[in-house]
Symmetry: D2
Subunit: 200 residues, 4 copies
């Protein structure tokens, strides 16, 4: 009776909970501080991602907009020029997504600050980043992380396919970053609501 | 020390876990069976949603594509005509998102089967749907659900703003539905990978 | 030998040329002045459209961004709340596209100024607009305009299907509006280039 | 008044008309035949483009869908894996758009057939393509083409900025290709209408 549905939701919720101890305070703090600096200086923040990681990135971008950030998404219509000192947040579980890595390379050559949100600190994306924010996930590339995932879940193979655990965890972690930004910037939920789209 | 980040991740993971007992077996089974029927008959599945709920819908659509479904997203370039018997999955926490409700009305008049994924079984979206799949969430509209949320979380007010809990939970639940579909349709993770975009 | 390709291009170019005498100086001037006012006051401009008309709208939005406008596209990630006095440009050849009309209705109730770009001044979209900018086109709804089109083209039936003539003409007319805005606002091509996306 | 609007529309229409003699019969025929082969074999066609060229590509993709093609757009949700023999149509006036060139490189390594729609037959994109379809345009890179443009227009500098002439001309030429495909495949406008989205 849909028992796989519940088992998979349990796997996802347990994995997100476990992430609390796996993510790095330093990395998250650096991300938060970089964002606060961009907020205060009015610098642009550009979100880059492909596939489901790209959708997680857009969900984060939407909340940054609600917070009052000058934020854009690569590939959308009104995304402007990036300048020296602007911030790029590139999301890729594997850190190997070709167009994401290429976009980050171009951004780096422009002088933007690159933040990689990835499970793989040794990946091409992580290597060119100024800051790597590691988020656990069983990604498409088999690695040590997969081992951690199996241990965490106490099973041989996760139920959820491909990047599912990374994507759900990245969404929750970045939503945690939003709460931190609200507190640090003193932005209330009411103020978020005031910037929320009213034609949809 | 980014303590809000961790508290918010905990809130999200606890909320998703609690959803396991709040979602309805019947509703989830009906969703799974409707999708299996669409899969077998080759009928189109159209995903409709706005804002962050729309992004959750796209993440679900991507996995349905990996599974071999004939799936489309409202508003994207190659979305074709809908016919009698096609399936529309409309996602809206509040069930009141105007353009989502309007799209569902048009779909209903065409003779499509409407599935509402929402926290509000009394909402306009739910009322016009053939099937309502309730997913708990603290949505923009204050309701009894909010009360459930506060009880669940053992606190006066959730940390995470606006539709955050609904969106994270909807993603996890729909990812659970994907696992169920994989098992029932006998589609392996390898086969998903074979349909996954290879230019990105 | 691809003779239809050339005949169709000829039909399109002749139709665009004929539009020069069919568009209204007053309507175009009002559009330009409304935009200049939005530019000077920093008010938001929201572009609304579906299908190929929506793509023409996005092409226009991109140039408005290059010009320095505070412009957004309905349905994209970072589109914010609309306020009283903001400007909505809704593009629909038939003026009957349901979700476009609904979005314009919501925008009107918010107190935004609605500009309809359409072939049909009697359409639901035109009727709720503060300003109608007529652009000739053979649209999906059979009308007097179709008659004009046939006369213009000196043939019984246009070669190009559905909204093709409207879409090509709307793109050219709105690109003409961009040139006018450049001259009136004193923005050079170099300045456009400075705002043009540099990661793509 | 608004004299620049009309002068710019005239420039665009004249430029599109002049393109009839500048485009190559052989190139257009090869494009049409490659598409007919993809149609008959059910092979996938993937449209790739950035910025306004990407929007022109989407407008073309939408009509290919109306014709019954198995067509996708890079970056959209349900875009699947590409296989050997699938067709990629990459649109870039300059032929140097970095992410478009990278995507074409990946597609080439997969064994897809690459068609470049560009003003620049010597560009990186054109060089890696199996077929180059030249479309005149004054692109962001100064070249011989610019000289042709100036001659065509009988003026020192075009009124319309950046890629405007390329984009309008590419839309008209690709719409001409649609008419040719309708005739060769025997698809009527009624049949296009039957596939056209009915929720929008």
């Amino acid at each position: 009776m849909s028992s796989y549905v519940k088992a998979a939701i349990k796997e996802i919720s347990k994995f997100i909970e476990a992430a609390i101890n796996l993510i790095s305070d330093n990395e998250i703090n650096s991300l938060v501080e970089t964002l606060i600096e961009a907020y205060r200086s009015g610098r642009k923040v550009l979100i880059v991602g492909a596939g489901r990681s790209g959708l997680v990135g857009r969900a984060f971008a939407m909340r940054l907009m609600h917070l009052g950030f000058n934020v854009y998404v690569l590939g959308e219509t009104i995304t402007p020029r990036l300048d020296v000192g602007d911030v790029v947040i590139a999301i890729s579980g594997s850190g190997r997504t070709r167009l994401v890595v290429t976009a980050a390379e171009v951004a780096r050559s422009i002088g933007a600050k690159i933040i990689a949100v990835t499970s793989h600190p040794d990946s091409p994306l992580a290597k060119l980043a100024d800051l790597v924010v590691r988020i656990p996930g069983r990604t498409k590339v088999a690695t040590e992380e997969d081992y951690i995932v199996r241990q965490l879940l106490g099973m041989h193979e996760p139920l959820t396919p491909l990047g599912t655990l990374f994507e759900n965890t990245a969404l929750a972690v970045l939503d945690g970053v939003i709460v931190e930004l609200m507190k640090r910037l003193g932005v209330s939920e009411e103020e978020l609501k005031l910037r929320h789209a009213n034609i949809e």
